[in-house]
């Protein structure tokens, strides 16, 4: 266990940011913290990065308590913040060597490490570019190189693909996959995006400062047995009542203007519903549950 959080609590005045959150992460895992904006995941991130103190509970990172030994924790984590942390007036290489100095690295070993990372992240040809001239995707790669410079055991990333175009996003993920294969580093990231959450080994679902569920994406989805059916209609509410009565008090709800229900056999249900409400239905579909459905079931809220 490389990271463990127990009964963490943090309030901003009256506002609850974290309430009794507990989870742990094994070495080598890709662990995701999933939730909508304001769910407490960024606060959790700041506590793990030693940038904020909790009011009660403990968080231990790489074997050290974040409150008692913040310096030891800092040596062992690499952090990629949501906002950029590069000096935009310095070159890529100057940014990386400054970072090395802050971590006590110097001379030939630092130079070698900078070169390695520039090659790995395919930014060696931009080493002398001033950072503000780089694209968003390139800047994010420099951020990652910066975070990995001191060979941390854990890489913490807060919404790492925010603001990146789809191509840059895919490149980033392919790099993270390679990184894990080569180094076995533990990666902990926060996200509100389902496709990213699906890539994680395990996930913590958060909502309003509370941990709602924790497990592998497959485990979480197994909690919903059956298929999710969604029906589009011009008058979703009356259709919902119709479906409820016609299918023997089948629980259903209106989400985003669609009638939504979970049934054992989606294909059969779709055919029956289409036959029963030929005029009210504009479209009907069924699918296997997604993490979004898991989140909806656990919290009643959308991601």
């Amino acid at each position: 266990m490389i990271l463990s959080v127990e009964h963490l609590k943090l309030h901003y005045g009256q506002q609850r940011a974290l309430e009794d959150v507990s989870f742990s992460v094994e070495a080598g895992e890709l662990f995701g913290i999933l939730g909508p904006n304001g769910c407490g995941k960024s606060t959790m991130f700041r506590v793990l990065a030693t940038m904020q103190s909790q009011q009660s509970g403990t968080a231990s990172v790489a074997g050290f308590d974040v409150l008692k030994d913040p310096q030891q924790v800092r040596r062992r984590i690499g952090v990629v913040f949501q906002s950029q942390s590069l000096d935009k007036y310095l070159t890529v290489e100057e940014n990386l060597s400054s970072q090395g100095h802050l971590y006590g690295m110097n001379g030939a070993p630092l130079k070698a490490r900078v070169n390695t990372l520039l090659d790995k992240l395919k930014i060696a040809d931009r080493r002398d570019s001033i950072v503000k001239t780089l694209s968003g995707g390139l800047k994010r790669r420099v951020e990652i190189a910066k975070a990995l410079l001191h060979e941390p055991q854990i890489l913490l990333m807060d919404e790492p693909t925010t603001g990146l175009d789809p191509v840059a996003r895919l490149e980033l993920w392919s790099y993270l996959d390679d990184l894990r294969k080569q180094s076995g580093i533990t990666i902990i990231l926060t996200t509100h995006m389902l496709d990213e959450a699906d890539r994680c080994d395990r996930l913590l679902l958060m909502h309003m400062g509370i941990s709602v569920a924790c497990g592998t994406p497959a485990e979480l989805k197994r909690n919903i047995s059956g298929d999710v059916v969604e029906i589009e209609s011009d008058d979703a509410e009356s259709l919902r009542q119709g479906v409820f009565l016609h299918f023997d008090k089948q629980p259903c709800s209106v989400v985003d203007g669609k009638v939504r229900t979970i049934v054992a056999d989606g294909a059969k249900f779709v055919i029956e519903a289409a036959a029963a409400f030929p005029n009210a239905i504009r479209g009907i579909s069924y699918r296997k549950p997604s993490l979004e459905d898991v989140f909806l079931k656990e919290t009643g809220a959308r991601l």
Partner: protein, 244 residues
């Protein structure tokens, strides 16, 4: 953990940033001499206001250099710095050295006019050393204020509120000896009074003797050291504001 390496790298960073902004470099070189020339001409002679112009140049340049702390916070660089294991005091001193160096060099440009202003150059090396000390101590004052500020607008308002009264009551406009007793008491509590007095005495043999040069230097140095200690303590406390 190494103390000097983080300090050195932050110092170097500020100087590189400065050098790459050519407009800043030009304004930097021209402003103190222009300032002295205009006010001195107004006074009718170039020497009366010279120590005052020198003090003002070094203090204002030192304090306003900490504006970069607000930029660092808004640009996210500060957060990256704080999440590193570098000793907190090395981060503070690193930031101070950058601002202090620039303020010092700027004041040296004006100090090079000493003979033009009609003063002897006997103590010029000591004066240059003192200017370094003033630059460092007052950058520390700026740092402490800038740390509390979120926006550059609030920063400017705060600096005007603190800085101008401090400078006006430093002896650079009127000496403590001619002030009313209550005003003299206020002036004795102002650290800038000591910095100005020491500088004036080093440049001008006929300067007012407010306190001995040694005493004034000790006050200025003590002021800087206390501020560095307070700053290091404040920086070591986790804060939501760091996260922007």
């Amino acid at each position: 953990m190494n103390f000097l390496l983080p300090t050195w790298t932050l110092w170097r960073r500020d100087l590189i940033r400065f050098w790459r902004e050519k407009a800043r470099v030009a304004a930097f070189a021209a402003s103190p001499i222009l300032f002295w020339f205009v006010i001195g001409s107004g006074f009718g002679n170039m020497s009366t206001f010279f120590p005052g112009a020198l003090t003002m140049t070094v203090m204002f340049a030192a304090i306003f250099s900490t504006m970069s702390l607000i930029e660092d916070r808004n640009e996210g660089f500060l957060l990256g710095m704080l999440v590193s294991p570098a000793p907190r005091m090395s981060l503070v001193v690193g930031k101070l050295l950058g601002g202090a160096t620039m303020a010092w060099v700027q004041s040296l440009l004006l100090l090079s006019m000493t003979t033009v202003a009609g003063y002897p150059v006997d103590n010029i090396v000591a004066a240059a050393g003192l200017l370094w000390l003033i630059a460092f101590s007052f950058t520390a004052l700026g740092f402490l204020i800038a740390w509390q500020m979120n926006s550059s607008a609030g920063y400017h308002a705060m600096m005007n509120l603190v800085l101008f009264p401090m400078w006006m009551l430093s002896g650079a406009i009127f000496p403590p000896s001619s002030a009313l007793p209550w005003m003299r008491a206020v002036m004795s509590a102002n650290p800038m009074t000591y910095a100005y007095s020491a500088l004036w005495q080093l440049l001008d043999p006929k300067a007012d003797h407010f306190a001995s040069v040694e005493y004034c230097v000790a006050v200025t140095a003590g002021f800087g050291i206390v501020l560095v200690l307070i700053s290091s303590w404040i920086v070591s406390r986790p804060s939501t504001r760091n996260a922007g």
